[in-house]
Structure formats: C-alpha cells, structure tokens
Amino acid sequence: MTMHDINHHLTDKLLMAYSAGALPEAFSLAVATHVSMCDECRARLGAYESLGGAVLERADTVAMAPDSLDVTMARIRNGAPVVNTPAPHKRGVLPAPLCDYVGGDLADVRWRSIGMGVKQAILPTSRDATARLLFIPAGAAVPDHGHRGTELTLVLQGAFVDETDRYGPGDIEIADEDLHHMPVADIGADCICLAATDAPLRFRGMIPRLAQPFLRI
C-alpha cells in the first residue's frame, strides 16, 4: 500500500509501546494510520507483536473455571456471527483506522477554521492525548510552536516543510520538547495531516497564544 517513498518512520520505542498497548488512544491512531500506509513499519510492528506473543507463551497460567470451555462454546453459538469476508475498503484519501474516527472519508470531515485558512477537526479519542486532522492551504504556515510533550504529525495528502526536513504522504514527524518549528505546506497542493499531541503546543506569537484555549490546540 506504499503510495510514495516514505522517508520518515516510526521509532522502535513507539512501535513497542503500541504493540504493548501502552500508548494513549490518539497516538495509537497515528501509529495505526502510518502502519496502514507503510509496509516497512507494518513488518517492524509484526516483530514487536511477536515479542508480545513470546511473553504470553512464557507467562504463568491461572486455571480457568471448570465449566469455562462449555460457557465459551455457548458464547460462540449465541454470539453474532462475524461476516466471513470483510467488506473491501474503498480507498479514498483516509486509511481505514481514520475513517472509523471520522465516520466516513475526507468529504465527511467537519472542519473548523482556526485562522489564516488553516482548519482542524478534533477526533474523538480518550483525553490523555488529542488527535486532530489539520488542513493547511498550499503555501500556508502553521504558527511557530514548540512542544511540551510529544507531537506526532503524519502527512495524509500534500506535503509540509519545516526546519528539519520535507514530509510527504505517509511520512511521520516525531517532535519532542527540543523541537521548535513552523511547518509550511508545500506550494503545490493543500496539505492534510493527522497530528497527535499529549500536551498543549507552545506558540511563540501572542495571537495564537490568546486563541489557544478556544481552539484547543
């Protein structure tokens, strides 16, 4: 499913934390979406999940209730039958994990303007971190900001450039406290990203700082 050459990948620690189920939901969504676009990281994730399998295989055992197999067979007979062939996902712009959160594809996103032509849509995840879709018009910039925690930014369409590099479709930028940047969308096309943060961003300018509490960015 690699659409372009992806140059910016997930770190081993993020893959391990995802496979261990330790990430906030918003970060897991960014990881699952990148993996949907990147065969290399899908294989690397498979290796970390194998480690989880090895841990389970070696784990101690706790005896199940005496009737548990019968109860489980009853559960199976009463359970909703799962459709045998999952409906083939019609590929739009958004990979399947994101479609689940949007409730449709790109056309169904409910954008809210945050000024300068930039729009966002906050996705419904647990509150320990925030996931948002960002729409940055071609050539426009997201105000200069730093990070208190971690910010994952995954490009879904178009591209952006910041102080570190150029990020195209499928690329994920992993920013921590040390990075202060001003992402600018490529001039060629509007840029759509998924951004996940576990702490509010730190803006340099006065206006974005004042607007921040209202925009939840």
């Binding site: 261990a20 189920g21 330790a22 990881v31 480690l51 389970l56 706790v62």
Partner: protein
C-alpha cells in the same frame, strides 16, 4: 508431550477451515489459562479475567478467517486479541488497528514461509528466556501493561539491543511474507 508451535497452527487452521471444536478445545486448554494470567497481571480481578479470557477465545473462533500463519504465530495473534480486550475493558478506550492488507494474488499461503515464521517465533521466545532476569522482567512488564509509554521511551534497561538480532530475523521473515 508438549505441542510445538506448528501443532498450534494446525489446530488454528482446523478451527478456521473446518470449525473443528476439538481443535478449539486444545487451543483453549493451552492459551486460555495464559490469557487469564496475563489479564490478572494487568490488573483485572479473577472474575473479570476469566470473562475476558473467554471472550478472547470466542473472538479467536469468530475471527479465525483472519488468521494468517505467514504473518503471526498463534501466540502472537492471541496476544493481540487479549491486548485489545484489556484496553477495551480496563482502560475503557479503543486500540485502533491498521488497515487489513488486501489479499495477495496467491490465496494459498506459502507453507515454507509459515514454517519459517513459526521457527523464528520459537527462537524469539528462547532469546527472551535467555535474557538476564532484570532485562526479561522489564520486557514482560512492558507487555503486561505495567510500563507507561514514557517509561518505555526512557527506560534504558530495556534490552532492545540484545534481542534486536532476533527481532531483525523475525522482521526479515515478515517482510518476505508480505511481498
């Protein structure tokens, strides 16, 4: 006699293709008590762990058509189902999953690939067992849900370097299997 990994794959395929209840009972006997222990280590009480272990095994039956021995061992596949259950029930949030890969051009899985993957999984387990106890315990804590993601990011004692060669081999195998 203990069953090797390949026997679990055989049982899993019998469940997948023939809805074989005896094969399911064998998988249940081996894995359900491990899933229950895993969930109790993650903070579930015995009643909740029993129920979630049953649900995990019922999911294995219902989703058997998604099991692909080229991509995961049975233990790995059950681990991911149990992990997602744990997040649903204990953290009350979801664990978003990657998009399924479209089926490849050849519907018949390559048996040599599947065997090699099972072999790698077994060796990964042996590499884990051979780690110094402190390092092994850290890995187990991470997968039992006892470490936060920032602890995983900063924990310098995680022996990712030591087991990297094993992870590397598993990775090469998976890459090959996805071609």
């Amino acid at each position: 006699m203990t069953r090797g990994q390949d026997a679990w794959v055989t049982s899993m395929i019998a469940v997948r293709d023939a809805r074989d209840e005896a094969a399911f009972a064998r998988l249940f006997g081996h894995f359900a008590p491990r899933v229950k222990a895993f969930l109790m280590r993650s903070g579930a009480d015995a009643t909740l762990a029993e129920e979630c272990a049953q649900e995990t095994m019922a999911t294995l039956w219902h989703k058997a058509h998604l099991f692909d021995p080229n991509r995961a061992s049975v233990a790995t596949w059950i681990f991911t189902i149990a992990r997602n259950r744990r997040i649903d029930v204990l953290r009350r949030t979801r664990h978003p999953e990657p998009e399924d890969l479209p089926w490849g051009p050849e519907p018949e899985p390559d048996q040599a690939d599947a065997l090699a993957l099972q072999q790698e999984s077994k060796q990964l387990g042996e590499a884990l067992a051979a780690l110094p106890e402190k390092q092994r315990v850290l890995i187990e804590k991470a997968y039992f849900g006892d470490l936060t993601h920032s602890e995983i990011a900063t924990e310098t004692g995680l022996p990712l370097g030591t087991i990297k060669s094993r992870i590397r081999l598993a990775l090469d195998r998976l890459r090959h299997a996805m071609k």
